[in-house]
């Protein structure tokens, strides 16, 4: 029986999720109530404690929590979380099915103190708002689309809402399912990564670009073969996540297997997948969503998906040797970004195969979002652009948009903290 796992991705966890997606003994699900076990992966800031406790209380019995990390400590917020330190978490996840039931960790109280507040002592202000019995009251408000002043509901979304990236916190106001106000709050990953508890799970981290994995400095070159291999695995992992968002769990597993495969999958397989997804598979979900024009982002994958031929590798003689040419797509919507990832993955397989001992340097390398040296800044610019992108979108399109930007909150925090982008 496949174990239903709710995944919380800490630092260094991206490849963990790809591996879990590839494993048929595990089913990654979105709702804590459907989960057999909550699996926290990688290093976790202490600030995650309250959110972890809140999600823990929503888990179905027996509220099993496991922490997959190389060096076990106490998981912030959840004292009974056992650690998994091996390379294969599934046997221990299966064992978690028979855990002793755990009780709730937080008292069952509304978020705001209401006793004695307001003119009637109930927290509300008559008909005009307040927080009656501790819950925000829905009021009328202007509508963006048709002028019908309905009931805007204010919510804080995240940091552990699946399928949004772990650590993304948004203050939103919804009218029906349309976002009428969006603000990005500080992520719990924002503090110093050196203080995070635990460390990455024990295997070569497939999803961190090579310079972040090893303790290398600016002057040392990066093997093109390693860099392009990382690119293949990263992009296929992103598409696997998108497939899961679209409900295509089996195709997600197939794609995740391609992402972790050794040797790398053949480019023809990737192109076949691209063909099906673009025409039928993901078209209904992604087509026309979040068209980001070439003026909004002038760098990296998003610009290439919008038709701008900008890539660090264009001017690199090592790549010119390999016959590199820039791949672009028109339009810049979520479907184009997905196609861009798959096209670049297919191309990267060929580049990695031909690269032999060629190398490039960090300041010339192209990362997953833009120049590798600017990885953190690219991510931060995406976060800053989120509110204007998401405003007026329906909930489903907003989630699709965030997924198409391929944000990794913990990686951005670590890269930012180490100064000039990517280095350790």
């Amino acid at each position: 029986m496949a174990v239903n796992v709710l995944v919380v991705a800490g630092g260094g966890a991206r490849s963990a999720i790809t591996r879990l997606l590839a494993d048929e003994r595990v089913r990654v699900i979105d709702s804590p109530r459907h989960a057999d076990v909550m699996l926290v992966v990688g290093s976790v800031p202490v600030e995650f404690g309250p959110a972890l406790r809140a999600v823990h209380d929503q888990l179905a019995a027996p509220r099993a929590v496991r922490w997959w990390t190389a060096s076990p400590q106490q998981l912030p917020g959840i004292p009974h979380a056992a650690s998994i330190t091996g390379a294969d978490p599934v046997p221990e996840l299966r064992a978690a099915l028979d855990d002793e039931p755990h009780g709730v960790l937080q008292p069952d109280e509304p978020p705001t103190e209401w006793r004695g507040e307001g003119p009637y002592g109930t927290g509300g202000e008559g008909m005009m708002g307040g927080t009656p019995y501790g819950r925000p009251m829905v009021m009328t408000g202007d509508d963006l689309r048709d002028g019908l002043a309905l009931d805007p509901l204010s919510l804080t979304v995240g940091p552990l809402l699946s399928p949004l990236p772990t650590g993304l916190v948004l203050d939103v106001s919804l009218q029906g399912d349309v976002l009428v106000k969006v603000e990005v709050r500080d992520s719990p990953f924002a503090n110093n990564p050196a203080t995070w508890r635990g460390t990455e799970p024990p295997w070569t981290d497939l999803d961190s670009p090579p310079p972040l994995r090893d303790g290398r400095t600016v002057d040392v070159d990066i093997s093109i073969s390693e860099l392009e291999t990382w690119r293949v695995r990263h992009h296929l992992g992103s598409v696997a996540r998108t497939l899961r968002l679209a409900g295509l769990d089996a195709l997600a597993r197939r794609t995740a297997r391609m992402a972790v495969a050794d040797p790398l999958p053949a480019p023809s397989r990737i192109r076949r997948l691209d063909g099906w997804l673009a025409r039928v598979g993901l078209r209904g979900l992604l087509d026309g969503v979040a068209a980001i024009g070439p003026d909004t982002f002038t760098d990296g994958l998003i610009a290439r998906a919008a038709g701008t031929a900008v890539d660090q590798r264009i001017d690199d003689p090592a790549y010119a040797d390999l016959g590199f040419h820039v791949v672009t797509h028109g339009g810049g919507d979520a479907l184009d970004r997905m196609r861009q990832r798959l096209s670049e993955a297919a191309q990267a397989v060929q580049l990695a195969g031909r690269a032999e001992r060629r190398a490039t340097s960090i300041d010339r390398a192209e990362g997953s979002h833009g120049p590798l040296a600017d990885h953190a800044d690219c991510g931060l610019r995406l976060l800053q652009a989120l509110p204007s992108l998401l405003l007026g979108m329906e909930w489903g399109d907003a989630v699709t948009t965030i997924d198409s930007l391929d944000l990794d909150m913990s990686l951005m925090a670590r890269a930012r903290r180490t100064g000039s982008g990517v280095l350790n």
């Binding site: 029986m1 109530r33 057999d36 179905a60 968002l245 409900g247 295509l248 195709l251 197939r254 598979g281």
Partner: protein
């Protein structure tokens, strides 16, 4: 009792068809689960072992044993009513479909109308399921289904009426009887795809799974676990079974076919339709609500009208009027 014939009473009921019907539902739900797992394994490239038969039972057992959870101030009565209603309307719809020649729980003279009514009542069931949890994402799922349901069930109505034209009756038994020489999939080719799409919609399966979508973290069933979740998932599969059997009866000639007995043909045809319905989930991703509305109203509805026109023309040609 006998199947209805010209001048027959309004209902032909076969009381002992009720346990057979329930058996068909149970077998159908089981088959759906197995087909789902096999299709997933085929698409993902998993090894297929005998566990594909035992795993669903283990998961069902685990769900059965899981204590229920509750949100803050849910509507308990409606929350528990919703899955019961969902299963109930699926079985109700199946009760007017002949399972083989002259054998239905109630082959009423207005079978198509009962089928359509059952279909529409699923909107109530799914809406209640999402609303009762008193949670924002569940509620969004519920509202999505209202938009989805209205759009796609209209298409099935036209498809079914087109099938009723040659039979000059709304009774599904008579519709099956009218396919003795030619199945409706040949004379009205658009009808079956339209009905299948409506089936995907009513069970919110695969490309039309908006109410319980991943982007709503489970949607209407996101706040639900235990036996309630189990009954909800069974309900969705019951709806798929109803549509598979109804499609087999209305468009694929029902029990008609050479050599094999009628019930064997019905089984084979229903199985074929079920494989298409269930398998679609693994290859076609969820369609976003706005695109879905455009598809339903700008493509689906004109096709439904066209189907009706084709049905009319074919009927007239058969009768020698044209």
């Amino acid at each position: 009792m006998d199947a209805p014939s010209v001048g027959a009473p309004a209902i032909a009921m076969t009381w002992w068809a009720v346990p057979v019907l329930l058996g068909v539902v149970v077998a159908g739900v089981w088959t759906t689960v197995v087909i789902d797992r096999l299709a997933a394994a085929a698409v993902a490239g998993d090894r297929i072992t005998a566990e594909v038969l035992t795993d669903p039972l283990r998961r069902a057992r685990r769900l059965w044993d899981t204590p229920a959870v509750s949100t803050e101030r849910p509507d308990h009565m409606l929350w528990h009513l919703a899955p019961a209603l969902y299963v109930g309307v699926a079985v109700l719809g199946l009760s007017v479909v002949p399972l083989t020649e002259g054998f239905a729980v109630a082959d009423v003279r207005t079978g198509i109308v009962v089928l359509g009514g059952a279909e529409v009542l699923t909107i109530v069931a799914v809406y209640l399921h999402g609303w009762s949890a008193n949670a924002p994402l569940s509620l969004i799922g519920a509202y999505r289904f209202m938009a989805l349901g209205l759009s796609f069930m209209l298409l099935s109505m036209f498809a079914l009426i087109g099938a009723a034209l040659p039979a000059e009756s709304l009774s599904i038994g008579r519709i099956v009887a009218s396919q003795a020489d030619r199945w409706h999939i040949v004379s009205q080719p658009l009808g079956l795809p339209l009905l299948l799409v409506a089936g995907l919609g009513a069970a919110f399966w695969g490309p039309l799974n908006q109410p319980d979508a991943a982007d709503l973290a489970g949607g209407t069933s996101g706040e639900v676990t235990g036996p309630q979740l189990l009954s909800w998932e069974i309900g969705r599969r019951c709806v798929l079974v109803t549509y598979a059997v109804a499609s087999a009866a209305v468009f694929l000639g029902g029990h008609h076919g050479p050599v094999l007995p009628g019930w064997a043909w019905m089984t084979l045809k229903s199985l074929a339709v079920l494989m298409v319905l269930v398998g679609s989930r693994h290859v076609i991703g969820r369609v976003r609500p706005e695109s879905m509305m455009k598809l339903a109203w700008l493509v689906g509805l004109p096709l439904a009208f066209l189907d009706l026109a084709i049905a009319g023309v074919v009927t007239f040609v058969d009768r020698g009027i044209l």
